[in-house]
Amino acid sequence: MEKNVNALKNDRDIQMSHYQISKSLEEINEKIRSGKAVVVTAEEMIGIVRKQGEIRAAQEVDVVTTGTFSPMCSSGAFINFGHSVPGIKASQVWVNGVPAYAGLAAVDIYIGATEPRVDDPLNLKYPGEFLYGGGHVIQDLVAGKTVHLRAEAYGTHCYPRKALDKRVSLSDLPFAQLCNPRNAYQNYNCAVNVTDKTIYTYMGTLRPRMGNANYCTSGQLSPLFNDPYYQTIGVGTRIFLGGGTGYVVAAGTQHNPGVPRTERGLPKRPGGTLMVMGDLKHMSPRWLVGVSLLGYGCSLAVGLGVPIPILNEEIAFRTGVSDEEIVTQVVDYGKDYPRGQGRSLKEVTYAQLKTGMIRIGDKEVKTAPLSSYVRAREIAQILRDWISSGKFLLAQPQELLPSERIETRD
C-alpha cells in the first residue's frame, strides 16, 4: 500500500513541473473564504472543459463538486446510549427490534444498515419484503423520531443492571457517528438475469431471459469517476455525507485500484471505494433513507458528495468526464455471479444505459437505475452552494488512497 502511494507521489512530482496551471489547496481555500472561488458541479464542468479546454478550465474553476445517492449496504452507526443508574454492561442490544452489535464497551453499539428486525419473516414468505432494518433505524433517528432501545446483560460488580428498556431520540444520545466501511463504489456491474425465473438480488428484481438490466452509479456525477486515480481524495477529505459534513477516513473495504481501466483511467469494473464517517446529529432523513430490496434484504440509501480541488489542468481534464466515456460490464446474476464468476456479457457506456435500452446479442434489454441521478445532482448543487458561500472549506488529505497508475494520459 505504502509503495503505491509513494510511487504515485513521485509520479505526480515529475508531472507537476509540466503543468501550466498549478494551485495549492490553501490558495483555493483562501478564495473560498473571500467568496471568490469558482465552484461548479461535475455536470457543469463537462461543458466547460469541452468548450474551453482543460487549461482554461483549470484557470477558471477552483472546485468541482460531485454527488451520488443510492443504496450502500456497508453502512451503519456507532452509538453510545449513555449510562443509566445502576449501570449496565450491555451484551445484547436491540433498537426498534433491530439487533445492534454490542461487543464494545459497556454502552457502545454499532448498528448496521442491513440488519433486519428480529421478528422479520425474511425470505420465509418468498420474496421477503424486509420492511424495517438498521437503515430504517438510522433514518428514524435523524428524522428526530423516538426509538425503543432494549439491552440485556449478565451483570458485573461495576455494572450490576441486567436489563434496560428505554425510549431515546438522537438528541438524547451522547454520541452517534455514521461510519460506513464501504461507500461510493467507483463503478458497479450492470446486472441481468439469463435464467428462466425472476430473481431477487441486491441489484433489484431481475426478470427472466434478460427482461431488464439494472445499474447503480451516478456516472459522470459520481465522486470517484471524477478523480479516478485518487489524486485529490484521501484520509481527511471533507465531504457531504447524509446531508451533513463527513470525512473520508480510509480506503473502503474491497478498495481495488488495480482493475482494468480505459484510456482515460476510468475503471471498467468495480474499483476504488471510500470509508466515510460523520456526526449523525447534523444529518437529515432526506439523505439517509432506509430501503427494502425485495427478496434480498434491507439497506440504507446514502447521499454522499466529494469536492474536488482543481489543482492543475490534469485534474480539470479528469473532472470533465462524461457518461459517453464511462463504461461498465453487463454481468449475469442468475448463474454466473452466484458462482463467483464476473464474466462480462457486454461492455456498455453509461450514456447507453441512460437511453433506457441496451442491446445484448440480438436482444433489446430495458435498463433501469437503482441510483438516483436527480438526487446526486442535488447533492452536487448543495455542496457547490456550501462552498461558494464560504461555509464549507476543503480539507487537505493526510494520505491519499492507494492507487495504481496503469495507463497514463496520452
Binding site: 443510492s70 439494472n214 430501503v291 437503482l370 436527480v374 438526487r375
Partner: protein, 142 residues
C-alpha cells in the same frame, strides 16, 4: 380494518331479497353503496365498498355467493407518494406500460397515472415503498 371494493351482479330471481342488509346484520360489516341499478325481475348491478374484520368480510362474500350473487373485485389504482419517492428509477424496470419512466432531459422519474394498468409490479420493487394501492373510485363510477 379490511376493505374491499366490489362489483356485485344479482340474478333476476333474487333481486327482491335484502342481501346487502344481511351483510351488516349477520356479519357486522360496514357498507357504502357507490352505484346501484336494481329492479325487481331484472339483473341488478351494484358497486359496493365493504369494510370490517377480514374474516367476516370473507364470510360475508361467501354468503353473497351462496345466494347466487356474482362477486368481482374492482381494479385498484396505484399512486405515488412523492414525499418519500427518492427518484431512483428501480420501478421503471418493471412497469409494462411506461406509466413510470425517466425523463431524458431532467432524469426525473415520472409517473403518469392515466397510463397505469394497475398491475402492481412496481409496489414491492420500490425500495422505499412509495407506490401505494388505492381503490379507483372515480374509475368505478364511469
Amino acid at each position: 380494518m379490511y376493505k374491499r371494493m366490489l362489483v356485485l351482479r344479482f340474478p333476476p330471481e333474487i333481486t327482491d331479497q335484502p342481501l346487502v342488509c344481511s351483510l351488516s346484520r349477520e356479519y357486522d360489516l360496514c357498507f357504502n353503496i357507490l352505484k346501484a341499478t336494481i329492479f325487481p325481475g331484472q339483473e341488478g348491478l351494484m358497486v359496493l365498498e365493504i369494510s370490517g374484520y377480514k374474516k367476516q368480510v370473507q364470510e360475508g362474500l361467501r354468503y353473497l355467493r351462496s345466494k347466487g350473487v356474482a362477486v368481482k373485485s374492482i381494479a385498484q389504482e396505484i399512486r405515488r407518494n412523492n414525499d418519500i419517492c427518492i427518484q431512483c428509477g428501480a420501478c421503471t424496470a418493471m412497469c409494462p406500460t411506461k406509466a413510470l419512466y425517466i425523463d431524458d432531459e431532467s432524469r426525473e422519474v415520472r409517473f403518469v397515472p392515466s397510463e397505469c394498468k394497475g398491475c402492481e409490479l412496481c409496489v414491492a420493487v420500490c425500495p422505499v415503498r412509495a407506490m401505494e394501492i388505492r381503490f379507483a373510485k372515480d374509475k368505478v363510477l364511469v
